[in-house]
Amino acid sequence: MAKDGGVSCLRRSEMIGIGIGELESPPLDSDQVHVLAVDDSLVDRIVIERLLRITSCKVTAVDSGWRALEFLGLDDKKAAVEFDRLKVDLIITDYCMPGMTGYELLKKIKESTSFKEVPVVIMSSENVITRIDRCLEEGAEDFLLKPVKLDVKRLRNYLTKDVKVAADGNKRKLTTPPPPPLSSTSSMESLDSTVESSLSLVVDDDSLIMLPESSTSPVDSP
């Protein structure tokens, strides 16, 4: 992964021990794509985390919508301690969770100033069209059927479309093609069958080196 030239304006998150994530990878490298995974099932968290780590993402996995909000600093308890706004490039969340559903989490994220631009992907074991529609209407990037098999190309499509590639201070915009319309993607097609996306887990050096655009939206001031 390209590490030359500090691009950024991307702020490093400080992994404060707020004691939320059960699974936290080593400290954030601003070059890496950072995914926040939300799932109440431990088994699923571990699998998702591994899937994402294999594609060179940095992953923070939490077990509830509340923990996710807490992690993002969007919960009601405005942190007494100031910390840099976290760099989160993608949020992937289970739909069915006790307390706060993935849909409710999606809404809260889309309502926030700091994170509304972050793509949110919903996962569910149930293929309910109304559910899918509702999530997409609310701004979800995609809706994946479980068990999830991550498609690296699809993952790349979720990330912000304007990216800056670090290279001697030369910044260029890389536009990725928009995700295919949902009527044609596997989330709709795989009604009764198991999801059989062509899974490419082998990650070459070029994948996912793109840096998400540094967020220029104002910090959610407490």
Partner: protein, 157 residues
């Protein structure tokens, strides 16, 4: 390294894992999990399934208690347990367990306590059976590694 021994063990492993798929104990998701394992994470699969089996045990316990008294069954709670079990079994490729969960869910929906109890018993049986089978599989893996061989990639398609 005794190459004959290694080859024999590898053959055994291959046959065994294929039989697990053929007999419906495992489905494609298990092979997806195996793809996530590498030299850096040689215990990934066994760790994940171990967590799954722990899950099974706990959920079955809870559901059993919910189903205990005929006059006071909290079907919502049982359904929630089945939902979780169905989810995690699906995530690890535990096909038979998952299939029992499908029937189990039905019994919850129609509030059939007897049916639920039968499903509970079946799910208990299936997860324990799978646990034994996978233990045998992992043992074979260990034997191969100890004999200096590598674990074969198995294409089940």
């Amino acid at each position: 390294m005794n190459t004959t021994v290694v080859a024999q063990l590898q053959r055994q492993f291959q046959d065994y894992i294929v039989s697990l798929y053929q007999q419906g104990f495992l489905d494609n998701q298990f092979s997806e999990l195996r793809k996530l394992q590498d030299e850096g994470t040689p215990d990934f699969v066994s760790e994940v399934v171990s967590l799954f089996f722990d899950d099974c045990s706990k959920l079955i316990d809870t559901m059993s208690r919910s189903l205990e008294r005929p006059d006071n069954v909290d079907f919502k709670q049982v359904d929630s347990g089945v939902h979780q079990l169905k989810g995690s079994s699906s995530s690890v490729g535990a096909r038979r367990v998952k299939n029992v969960c499908i029937s189990f869910k039905e019994c919850c929906h129609v509030q059939n306590r007897e049916g639920c109890l039968r499903c509970l018993q079946q799910v208990d049986y299936e997860y324990k059976m799978l646990k034994t089978k996978l233990q045998d599989l992992f043992n074979l893996e260990q034997q191969i590694l100890q004999a200096g061989g590598t674990i074969p990639q198995v294409d089940i398609n």
